[in-house]
Subunit: 440 residues, 2 copies
């Protein structure tokens, strides 16, 4: 039997492929080489011909595609729990925005991003879709960590993060895009903040640029009733109709929140093949409301989950996001069969990969795909017994049961130890910035 | 300075006392001797005169009263994730009840209870209010583990768990009650299953017995719309009005679920000083609905949280229960200030202690109270930075950040290692019963 050197072998796990048949392999193994999955199988097929440089023994563990967080603000890591239990207006105007305007500079964004990315990895998240400012710092942190990201340069029509106007942001975006156009892990997108913080002309310019560069458009939409009502007052149409008329929508747009949608809005989003990032924990905590999830899902809209930023969540656990989303929409629909666990797992893997234009590369475990793989430890009292791995993940597990994270074939976390980032340094810096935040 | 030998010193933590002033002690310490808290203070008061047999260094950690789970079915541990995403009727009739009738015997209940109690401890829960059958096995497991419990002997008017009728259960209850009447950690209660599984005469007999023994009454009430509607059809009154007319209610009764309450029901429960155990995760997952939490709370009803059993939850995390309850009821009330984190923490400490008749002994950290204390590790990337400990607990933390558990002055978990139970043996048994469950 001919032997073959490979980079990594993961063996003895329950493998959830999330392929089109949702195939589950008991006692499965995966061979990884040159960033790719080169072979996989179960006990009936030998893997002893592979000579791996590294082996992960996944006995008693679940092996699955890495989670994808489809809407977040990673540089806000240091804002976690700074102000809670407040009305949205007070929270933004008296706490978040004043602190941002005082604290935000390139150094803060870089360090806070490193913290946020470390938390993502600990939560088994291999790719994030970000919406913030000064993306070069975020991209630098993501590159150091070795995670995938779509860095959305935020567009706003008032001074923010050192920009005086949106024209300056467009210039920054072009330079950022140039810097990363060859990157395997980093994509750049345009992320207008919202319809109430961007003028019509700015939105049009953004849409034009996104088409020119063939990149993702990523915005917050219909988050609050106030946004919906104000839009109806001002434009005589819903937020979705307003953006639709501007030509915002295509299969290269992703919308965060979408709490306040009418039936026509849902038809438009479905027809235009727009992707939705559902941010349940953030929407509930800020009392924004409940997205009509089931209606969107049944209309065939590609549904994904995002944590939003930690300032409103207050963590980056996509496992918690799955659990709360599944539960809340069962109750809202008086239907315990709504959002079954196996479907919910797709929202944060293959569906999210599709939303970010990566489903040909990641989002499922299949031969030829890039190796973005996580291992989840279920061999503990809190997880046992385990009758159904999808139920386990969505309803039982804590986020910190993720033990190993592989991105693009490289092991980024092993047995909960971060391999690309210095955990102690990140913690020390969190204490330093914590002090600075409350002193300023 | 005179020295004093003590059993335990916990030092350097952020101490949340949950006393009537909600006092927080930064860099606090607690001295424990003979099961009690004998002294506590901050850096300004020395503790070097105490010579502790054991010391827990809580640097970078939160120290607080242990969590109390006010409604659960601990012996169902082995049913975790056995059947999910099903209608309540199918779930109960085709999965849970057939498996129970096949599997349940004294040995199963004892082993499954040991597993469930181990999971409770890992979640920082020091006391649980149980509702199941053959309580001697549950009490035996709880006593071995060293946790507090109210063991509710379940009453049903059809054959269950080896009982042919409720008369046999009453006899068992009396013997169980006799066995534990001197126990410091174990109380016994009467727990009629529900108004739809107990005849009127059985409920009357139960109420009579509970008064005779001066013990807690614990039942499921108004869990589903079907239960509410059926009760209206059959008795021409709501479930709450029905039990009220039978004389069920006093400050020694606790009701689980209470999803379907009308305004008059809430008035009755408030007037009779009945305690409610809110089971958010279970109610949402089974699509039972949303309790009118804020209405109950504003009427002064003593609100507590329970996990329900793992068959419907699917875990015993009271931290998750706090997070989801706070978030859901903010959104339902369109009010982000509803259920603030510091209030939510009371539901699972002092309020729950009151519901179980123990608020003079536990539920807060005060000199003279029994030492039921947990330590939560917040010195990790997922928890940092930490601006507000209540926010941290309710919105950010995973359950498995609880590092140490002290019950009645005895350390039950140290640095996440169980000290009274054999973790490996419990895990091995879970694999054994898992196999048995799916084979049978």
């Amino acid at each position: 039997m001919q032997t073959k050197d490979i980079d990594l072998l993961i063996k003895n796990g329950t493998v959830l492929t999330i392929n089109s048949d949702m195939k589950v392999i008991s006692h499965g193994w995966i061979a990884v080489n040159n960033q790719q999955i080169v072979a996989m199988g179960d006990d009936s097929i030998t893997h002893t011909n592979y000579l791996p440089a590294q082996t992960i023994d996944a006995s008693g563990k679940i092996v699955m595609p890495g989670f994808i967080n489809s809407h977040t603000h990673i540089p806000m890591a240091y804002f976690k729990g700074l102000a809670d239990d407040l009305p949205l207006h007070t929270w933004l105007n008296e706490h978040i925005w004043p602190k941002e305007s005082k604290m935000i500079n390139d150094e803060f964004i870089y360090h806070s991003s490193l913290h946020g990315i470390a938390e993502l990895i600990k939560n088994g998240i291999v790719m994030f879709n970000d919406n913030y400012f000064r993306g070069k710092q975020i991209a630098k942190a993501a590159t150091e960590a070795g995670v995938r990201a779509v860095i959305g340069e935020g567009i706003l029509d008032f001074p923010v993060a050192g920009y005086e106007n949106s024209a300056m942001i467009f210039d920054y975006f072009i330079s950022l895009r140039d810097q990363y156009k060859q990157s395997k892990l980093i994509d750049i997108s345009l992320s207008p903040h919202s319809i109430y913080t961007c003028e019509k002309e700015t939105l049009q310019k953004t849409i034009h640029l996104a088409k020119e560069y063939d990149i993702l458009l990523h915005t917050h939409l219909a988050e609050t009733k106030k946004e919906y009502d104000d839009c109806m007052d001002l434009h005589k149409k819903s937020p979705v109709a307003y953006l639709n008329d501007l030509g915002f929508f295509s299969d290269k747009s992703i919308l965060a929140h979408c709490v306040w949608l009418n039936d026509e809005d849902i038809d438009i989003l479905s027809e235009k093949k727009v992707h939705i990032s559902v941010n349940t924990k953030s929407n509930l905590k800020l009392a924004s409301g409940f997205i009509p999830f089931q209606k969107c899902f049944l209309k065939g809209i590609n549904m994904t989950l995002g944590t939003d930023g930690v300032a409103s969540n207050n963590n980056l656990s996509i496992i918690e996001e799955m659990g709360i989303t599944a539960r809340v929409h069962k109750a809202l629909n008086s239907d315990p069969t709504a959002l079954p666990a196996s479907e919910v797992v797709k929202f944060v893997t293959i569906n999210a990969a599709k939303a970010l234009g990566k489903d040909n590369l990641i989002g499922s475990l299949e031969i030829g795909k890039q190796a973005d793989i996580i291992v989840i430890d279920t061999d503990n009292i809190e997880s046992l017994p385990a009758y159904n791995p999808y139920s386990q993940i969505v309803y039982s597990l804590s986020s910190n049961t993720v033990s190993d994270v592989v991105i693009n074939g490289k092991t980024i976390m092993y047995n909960r130890q971060l391999l690309t980032l210095d955990e102690e340094e990140i913690k020390d810096r969190a204490y330093y910035y914590h002090k600075k935040m409350i002193e300023d």
